[in-house]
């Protein structure tokens, strides 16, 4: 049976950060994921924002980790391969009485130590963001806020972790675990078993189930749904900064997000989900998104909508729950990671490492740890001369498979070789099928490339694992 120093359950953004952090040390680490690919849960469907550090008070764990995490992204962006940009965040007030709340956020930001945060007049707001509703009365500007592609971030973290020795086990759905001497013996639904001295529970929506399976604390993760619309990059009303409304008690409201890849995302809603598998979108919720987003940016048009989707927040109380288990030994709980979880995640990696150390895990730095991963060149980002050079090195860069997002065959092959063997995995890695035609033109080509590269048969191709088979027969 395989034996590890640490087993991390759940390969979302938290698990991936913990795994990469631990890969710096002389440890045998396993990253366990129940899905066919990493980042397929909450980390896939969220706003993709590096927050500004003013929404929560520094007395909370989530604010501390958010502030710390936000500062780590420049370095991560340099070392890893994910799109990231500090485009700045605006909070827009549409009524005079909302300015009081803006001021509160500003003061909180200042107290939190946010650099460059400023209060803005109407004029300043419109100068910073001309697409804003001209009725804006003022707002807040946090220039350090940013945008990134969350799944690409996770993919890259996992690639880095793997490169530095972490064992990634997908389709490993933890069913039970029991203590066996100094070890946890962890059993997957598939019957596979491993042993690990320490366990990190970063199972997101399913952290409660895992905690119970490990005989640790009993708590309940409540799935809270956030629905989004994705708009075409050609939309006329594309803002250049993230626009927040004035937050309410329950949520940060419907945002207008210029994604780092040039499309526009609007959402999320905040409504109870009927279960942890409830990813359905709802007509009324979607109408609410359009309505609310248009209050901020009136030029947004439903004609530019290319898709809608829903993500589930793993809600548990008001703050993050990151702590050593008080009931089970050698277990660290990483649960209730809602917004700003993505922003905080690099700091969560550090924090969990420290908790493990306190619990007795010996950390010896590796002399040969390599923080860098290969940056896969993207045809979309290359100017004509750069693309010419790429094609000379690899002709597959000259074969544009996805016309809408300009993705070459070379990038699809890179995705497959990085272990993404489903249509969705390839989509999140490359953006192929993510544009205005939503795969109408390129799906058949991706299927062919997938079959060619992996030797998979047509009836093994899935959208995202499980029973999500794409083809049901051959003529």
């Amino acid at each position: 049976m395989e034996q590890f120093d640490v087993a991390i359950i759940g390969a979302g953004v938290c698990g991936a950060n913990v795994a990469r952090k631990l890969s710096q040390y002389e440890l045998d680490v396993a990253l366990l994921e129940r899905e066919i690919d990493v980042s397929l849960g909450t980390s896939k469907a969220n706003s993709g924002i590096v927050h500004g550090g003013f929404h929560d008070h520094i007395s909370t764990l989530k604010a501390r980790l958010e502030l710390q995490g936000a500062l780590m992204f420049d370095r991560l962006h340099d070392e890893l391969d994910f799109p990231f940009e500090r485009c700045g965040i605006l909070v827009a007030a549409l009524h005079e009485d909302e300015m009081r709340a803006i001021e509160q956020l500003y003061l909180q930001g200042v107290e939190n130590g946010v650099i460059g945060i400023e209060m803005c007049s109407r004029e300043r707001m419109l100068e910073l963001e001309p697409t804003l509703n001209p009725d804006v009365v003022g707002g807040l500007y946090a220039p350090s806020g940013g945008i990134l592609e969350p799944y690409r971030f996770v993919f890259s973290l996992v690639e880095s972790a793997r490169k530095n020795g972490v064992h990634v086990k997908t389709e490993f759905e933890v069913e039970s675990a029991a203590r066996e001497g100094d070890y946890w013996r962890i059993r997957a639904k598939s019957g596979q078993e491993i042993r690990a001295r320490y366990v990190v529970n970063s199972a997101g929506l399913h952290a409660d189930t895992i905690s119970t399976a490990l005989g640790a604390e009993r708590y309940t993760i409540v799935p809270r749904k956030g629905e989004y619309y994705l708009l075409d990059r050609a939309t006329r009303a594309k803002p250049s900064r993230v626009i927040f409304p004035v937050p309410t008690e329950v949520s940060k409201g419907i945002l207008v997000i210029p994604t780092v890849e040039g499309t526009v995302l609007i959402g999320p809603t905040a409504s109870p989900a009927s279960g942890k598998e409830d990813f359905a979108t709802d007509r009324e919720q979607l109408e609410h998104i359009l309505h609310s987003a248009r209050m901020m940016v009136p030029g947004l048009s439903e004609n530019d909508v290319i898709t809608s989707f829903a993500g589930l927040r793993a809600a548990y109380g008001g703050d993050f729950y990151i702590a050593p288990s008080e009931k089970a030994p050698a277990l660290v709980q990483v649960a209730g990671i809602q917004s700003p979880g993505l922003t905080a995640s690099p700091a969560i990696g550090e924090y969990v490492k420290d908790l493990l150390k306190k619990a007795g895990l010996r950390l010896v730095e590796k002399s040969d740890w390599d923080p860098y991963v290969r940056k896969v060149p993207r045809a979309r980002d290359a100017d004509p001369f750069a693309l010419d050079t790429l094609v000379a090195q690899d002709p597959a860069y000259g074969d544009i498979v996805c016309r809408c997002e300009r993705v070459s065959e070379a990038e699809i092959v890179a995705a497959i070789r990085a272990g993404h063997r489903t249509l969705d995995g390839i989509k999140y890695y490359t953006r192929a099928q993510m544009g205005r035609c939503q795969g109408g033109f390129c799906t058949y080509r991706i299927i062919r490339i997938l079959m060619r590269e992996t030797g998979m048969s047509f009836d093994e191709i899935t959208k995202r694992g499980g029973d999500s088979f794409v083809l049901k027969g051959s003529l």
Binding site: I447, R448, I449, M451, R452, L475
Partner: protein, 129 residues
């Protein structure tokens, strides 16, 4: 009176078929003579052009795999309208058939299909590189 829509061409004429006092069939609403012919056929012996595909087979006997840019299927069609009630039978016959590449457009796959006057021919020329 029976109403029909002519499907001979994409114009889609709305036809009215009537029988006059002498029992002769009378067609109105057609914009060309083919409409009248269609109405007669549709009532007494409905027929359809059948289009389908057969498996492509490489010159060496293999089938085009995902590494090749060749299609796995070769389109075929009937040379004329085929009796409607016998279409399932025809499809059954075509299902197991293959076309060896290079496929020549117009070449006959099935001569006098199911003893009708209609042939099934290759509808796309495909030349492996």
């Amino acid at each position: 009176m029976r109403e029909l829509i002519c499907i001979t061409c994409p114009m889609g004429c709305h036809l009215a078929v009537d029988t006059d006092a002498r029992g002769e069939m009378k067609v109105t609403g057609n914009r060309c003579l083919r409409g009248e012919q269609y109405a007669r056929e549709e009532i007494f012996n409905p027929k359809r052009v059948v289009t389908f595909t057969c498996a492509a087979v490489l010159p060496d006997g293999g089938t085009p795999g995902p590494e090749s840019n060749l299609p796995r299927r070769v389109p075929v069609r009937t040379t004329g309208a085929f009796p409607k009630e016998r279409i399932p039978e025809l499809l059954g016959a075509l299902k197991g058939m293959t076309v060896r590449l290079p496929a020549v457009r117009g070449s006959v796959v099935l001569k006098k299909a199911l003893d009708t006057e209609v042939d099934v021919i290759v509808a796309r020329g495909i030349a492996p590189e």
